[in-house]
Assembly symmetry: C2
Homo-oligomer: 345 residues x 2
């Protein structure tokens, strides 16, 4: 029997998650049944949505139960297979969670071709975050040439792709992030304007950055940034609501004034579209087109990406807490085991 080290949900966080909410433990995996495979985890993706899974409350996916392994996307090597579709040595994309080994149904896996590029990108630019950016823009943002798009957490796994696709589509792009090194990276990514939300003059700098208003605000942050962008929205602006990382740790409604009526009024008179989405709802209809387009953009250098690696499962909790505070710089990935497709640096 294979032993797997895992991070399990020890208790549900109240507000900001802390170390006592997560527990490292060693679990004995079941035998590999018919159609199943034994996986060795190479990379674990850390993403903001995981904070929602730690709550008991209903969301678009069911919560992780207390005592269960934390959920998460992974890149794994097949070690043992009782599935006709996979052989030992295959590299696959799985959703096997925060653990070193896992037994999974073969039908839940997608093969990764290492010849196409670093296999870790299946968790980032070529995976769920990249696809999130893609469908949010294609289906809701619908940015047109000459329009202005604003995105926050713009060096992140989703935001960086949003800005670059919008640029390819002919938009003026404004990226918001925190700190000088992120500003430099935004410029390297081709954003027309890089704005530091930590700047004391942020609001006036935003005003100057969007002289023709904002046509698409890709929402993955909420809070103060949404507040600042709100007044600049043009008639018919689209707001794809992808995430709200700034409020995931809130335990109650903030003090007033109540800004809801003002938002509804703006939606009404400006004829805004404010629409939530998750990439899962578009996999069957858009994933193939995404893979084709994104592969082409990567191979021609039109889209760049940055990965932020953390080593070892033990360090996953701290890295995850940092992600919720914007401490990562690029797609956050935990290196759980050796990557046979490239030497460890």
């Amino acid at each position: 029997m294979t032993q797997s080290r895992a991070v399990v949900l020890a208790s549900r966080p109240v507000g900001e998650p802390v170390h006592s909410n997560l527990r490292l433990e060693t679990r004995t995996l079941p035998a590999v049944g018919q159609g199943q495979v034994l996986l060795r985890t190479i990379y674990l993706s850390l993403d903001p949505y995981m904070r929602g899974r730690m709550n008991a409350s209903r969301s678009y996916a069911k919560p992780v139960e207390v005592g269960e392994v934390m959920e998460g996307g992974t890149v794994c090597e097949v070690i043992e297979s009782a599935s006709p579709s996979f052989r030992p040595g295959d590299i696959v994309l799985a959703h096997s969670g925060w653990q070193t080994y896992a037994v999974q149904d073969g039908r839940s896996l997608r093969r990764i071709d290492p010849a196409r590029g670093p296999v870790s990108t299946a968790l980032g630019v070529l995976g769920m975050p990249g696809f999130t950016a893609y469908v949010g823009l294609v289906e809701i943002g619908r940015v047109r040439p000459g329009e202005t798009l604003v995105v926050a957490a713009a060096t992140g796994a989703v935001g960086s792709v949003v800005g670059q696709i919008a640029k390819i589509q002919g938009a003026r792009t404004v990226g918001i992030a925190g700190g000088a090194s992120k500003m430099a990276w935004l410029r390297e990514l081709g954003f027309d304007v890089a704005l530091d939300h930590r700047s004391p003059a942020f609001r006036s700098e935003l005003s100057q950055a969007v002289p023709a208003g904002v046509d698409v605000y890709f929402e993955n942050v909420g809070g103060a940034v949404w507040d600042a962008v709100f007044d600049h929205l043009n008639d018919f602006a689209r707001v794809p609501v992808c995430g709200l990382i700034s409020q995931y740790n809130e335990t109650s409604a903030p003090a007033g004034p109540d800004r809801l009526p003002r938002l509804m009024s703006a939606i009404n008179t400006k004829r805004l579209v404010v629409q939530g989405f998750t990439q899962r709802d578009f996999v069957s209809t858009h994933y193939a087109a995404f893979q084709r387009d994104m592969s082409a953009w990567l191979s021609t250098g039109r889209i760049k990406y940055r990965e932020d690696f953390v080593d070892g499962l033990d360090n996953a909790p701290e890295a995850f807490f940092g992600l919720l505070k914007g401490r990562n710089f690029g797609k956050l990935i935990v290196r759980i085991g050796d990557d046979p497709t490239r030497p460890t640096p």
Copy 2:
């Protein structure tokens, strides 16, 4: 020179409009120029959007200036014509405002055929309010058979048409209004459930009325009703934001807690579509289809309507103030002058 009695904007309301914000005066109209016609007003439509026009602030249309005649849709008789398109005696739909006579460009008018039914319906079920209901449902609500639709102000000019079209489209319909006589009318209109928002048990009655949740909430009220419906929204629910009559008189943001983060979170996790619209943006693409469909529904009795007539321009201000409080019962119309197409009752 023709003398016209008119209601002009005397001052901008702060909060609830009062009589001193409006002024009756007699104005001398200009001579009828080339391409123009002289109109005698028969019916003046009173609609909630007019409250917005009394403010200086930007909306989807420019405000009425202080000293100007209050804006409004009208049904008029052509008295004198220097337009090749109209002859004296023609009945036309105009936007000539709160006055007894007006000189208008012939190109701004639409001819009304009295053989098609009461000409006043050009201001209601066959006009702007009916079209508002139609495009809001067709373009944003997209209600499907078996889904549940909720609409407030459900006996009003827009709400009553929303509920009836949704019923024709196979939805379960829940109408909200205030008072016993309106409940009876909602049942006559074919709503599956009629709810009185004045009932002390309104929230629990709403819960019982939507056992399968809410798929479309047609928003024309805001406030407490939106609050109550909010928790029942299903995944992928659509909220066409047509109007917010409950908050038009607000002068500042209400006290907290701030419900904005909660709304954004629901939009995100439930993948809601919250979208503002105004019928004006759809005239060129949808008006012909609306006229065709609505005429058919009216002639076969599938859509019913109710008009609430008030007599005389002098009574228009008080009637308008009542409209903002939900005191009208059906499409509110001011009878300004004799209707040559039907005898005054």
